[in-house]
Amino acid sequence: MNQLHREYRNKGLQFITIDKAGVILSSDQQLIDFEKGSLLKDVHPFFENIGVYFEDDSEYAKLECIHIEDRIFDIDFILNDDHTAVIILREGTDFYKRVQVMTQKRNESLIFQERLELKNQLLKEQEEFKNRFIANFSHELRNPLTLISSFSSMLMKKDINLDQQMLIEAIKSQSEKLRGILNDILDLSILKNSSLSLENAPFSLRKLLKNLQLNYTTSHLDLNFKVNIDTNVPKTIIGDKRRFEQVITNFIDNALKHNKGDSIEINIQENQRRANKVSLRIEVTNNEGIIPDILSDPKLENYTSIGHGDIEKTTGLSFSIARELAQLMDGDIRIKHCENGGTTQVANLKLSFPIHDEEIEEQVEKKTKPKVQLSEKIRTIIAEENSVSKMTALKILVSTGNFDTQVFTDPKNLLGAVENDEYDLILMSSSISQLDTIELISLIKEFANDHNKKIPIIGVTTQTAPEDIAALRKAGCKDVIKKPYTDDELTNTIYKRLNLKKFK
C-alpha cells in the first residue's frame, strides 16, 4: 500500500484510512482536508453508506464519477486484513466536465429527435383519424344519395305535371351537387395523402375540349363559351384524361359560380416542349366577376382544409383539388384578376405526347340508349343489408320489368340459394352481416351449383378508392358500381355485363 501511495503521490490522489465505524485514522490531505479522528460520513453524504463496503464479500470496490461539492472523483475502497480500509480519491473533475459537455450534446439531440418523432406520429394519427372520418362520412351519405338520385331520375320519366317536374328537377340537381361535393372531399383527401397515382393513356385534347364545350353550352344556353387551342399544341396528349379534365372543369365551375357576364373563354397554349414532354398553359377566363385569389390568402387552409372548411366555400375545395392535381402533373395554378373586371385562372401542366402526333380515335358511348325490353326476366340476387340501398336497387330493377329479384341479407341464405336455385346475376353490396365481400364472393364460387358457377357478379360499393375497386374486380366482380348511382347507371351497367340475347 505504501508503495502504491508513493507511486501516485503526485498524480492527484489522496489516501485515507478508516476503521469499520468510519472513523478517519489517517489522511494525506492531498485533495480534501479530512480531520483525523472524525467520522468520514460527516464530510459528505456519499460516505454515509461506506459501511456496506466492509460487509460486502469483495475486498475492493471502485466508484467512478462521484460528485463531492463542486469536484468529481473516482473513489477506490480497499479492505485491509485488519478490518481497516483504505479509500483512494482520484481527482477527475476536468475529465468528467469534458465528458459532461459531450453527453449533454448527445442527450439533447436524442431527446429532440424523440420529440420530433412523437410529433410526427401524432400528426399521422390525426391524419388517419381524419381519413377514417371522411370514409365513414362518405359511406353514410352514399346510400341515401343513391336513393334520392335514382328515385328522382325515375320520377322524371313518369307522366307528371310541370310543377311536379320542376320540384323533382330541383331535387335531382341538388343531389347531383351533393354528389359532386362528396366526390371533391374524397378526392382532396386522397390527394392530400399523396396516395393518388395518375394514369398514362393517350387522349385527344381537342375532342376533350369540344365535348366540354358541348356539355356546358347545352346546360347554360345563354353562355358564350369559346375554346382556343394554339396550333402548336399536340393533338394527342398522354396523361390522366380524367384528372386533366377535372382541373379544367373545376376552373370552369369556379368561373360559372362567380361569373357576372355572359362569356367564358378557354385558351390553351404550349409553354415549351422537350423530347416527348410538353408544358401546357391552360387559361379559363370569365369576362366579368372576381374569383377570390385564395392562393394568395395566408389563411388558404381555411378554404382548403377539410377539417376547417366551410362546405359552401366549394371554390376553395375545387380549387384546392385543382392545385393538388397540378402539382401531381409537375405544374402549378394561379388566379389573375383582369383589368376589365373578369378573372383568369391559369394552370401550367406538364404532360407527354406521342412521337407521331396524330389525332386518335376515341370510343364515344351513346348517351341515350333505347329502352331495353326483355321477354325473359333476369333472375337477380340483391345481396344487401342496408335497407335504403336494398329498396333503391329493388325499385329500380322492378320498374324496368326486366328483373325477377330476390333480396338476401343473410350470407347463409345467400349461399343456400346459389347452391340450390338458378340465377343470372348477383348484385353484391360491399358488406353483408359484417362479412367481407371478397370472402363472400369466394364462398359463393365454392357453394354455387353448376348453373351458378359462372354467374356474373356486379359489386355495388360505397368504398370508391381505386384500390377498393381493383380488389373487388380481382375477387371476381365483372363490374363495380359506385354509390351514389342513378337508375340509368345501374341498369346500363347490368345490361352491358350480361348477354342480353339470352333474355330477348
Binding site: 453508506n49 464519477c65 468529481i72
Partner: protein, 159 residues
C-alpha cells in the same frame, strides 16, 4: 436517527435531478443539465414521529438499469424509477426494469413515478393516470406537485 439510501434511476432527461432539487432545495430550473456519474444529497424527514435521513443518489440517465455502475447500488434501501410521461420510450420497459431491481436487490421497495405532469393539457391528468396505471404516482418537479408526498411515501415504506 436512521439513514436510508434511495437511488433515483431512469432514462436521461426525465427530470431525476430536478425532482431531487425540488425536494431538497425547493428550486427548479428550466435548463436541462445532464448528470454524469452520481450526485448525492441528503434531507431529513420526520415520518411517524421518527427522524429519517434520506440519502438520495441521483444517478446518470441510462436506457436500462443494467447500465448503472453496480457499486453505486450496493446497500440501497429503496429505488425511485422516474419516467417522463410525455416520452413513451422512458416507460416502455418499466416492468422488466422493476423486475430486474427486485430480483437483484432483495425486493427493496420501488416506486415508479411519472414526472412532468405540468406538460399535460389542463384537466387531463386523471386520464393520463388511468392510461399509465402501472405508475405509482404522477408528479411535477417544475410545479412541485406530489414531490414531497413521493419522498414521504418512500420513507414510510422504509421505516
Amino acid at each position: 436517527m436512521v439513514s436510508k439510501k434511495i437511488v433515483i434511476v431512469g432514462h436521461f432527461g426525465v427530470g431525476k435531478t430536478s425532482l431531487i432539487r425540488r425536494f431538497v432545495e425547493d428550486v427548479f430550473t428550466e435548463d436541462y443539465k445532464v448528470t454524469i456519474g452520481v450526485h448525492i444529497l441528503k434531507k431529513t424527514l420526520i415520518v411517524n414521529d421518527q427522524e429519517v435521513n434520506l440519502i438520495l443518489w441521483d444517478t446518470e440517465g441510462t436506457d436500462t438499469i443494467e447500465d448503472i455502475r453496480k457499486a453505486y447500488l450496493l446497500g440501497t434501501h429503496g429505488f425511485i424509477f422516474v419516467c417522463d410521461i410525455t416520452r413513451p420510450s422512458t416507460y416502455e420497459n418499466i416492468a422488466a426494469q422493476k423486475e430486474y431491481l427486485s430480483s437483484n436487490f432483495n425486493n427493496v421497495p420501488i416506486l415508479s413515478i411519472g414526472n412532468k405532469t405540468d406538460l399535460l393539457p389542463k384537466g387531463s391528468i386523471s386520464d393520463k393516470k388511468e392510461e399509465l396505471d402501472f405508475l405509482d404516482m404522477l408528479v411535477s418537479a417544475k410545479e412541485g406537485n406530489n414531490v414531497n408526498r413521493l419522498f414521504e411515501r418512500i420513507a414510510k415504506l422504509l421505516i
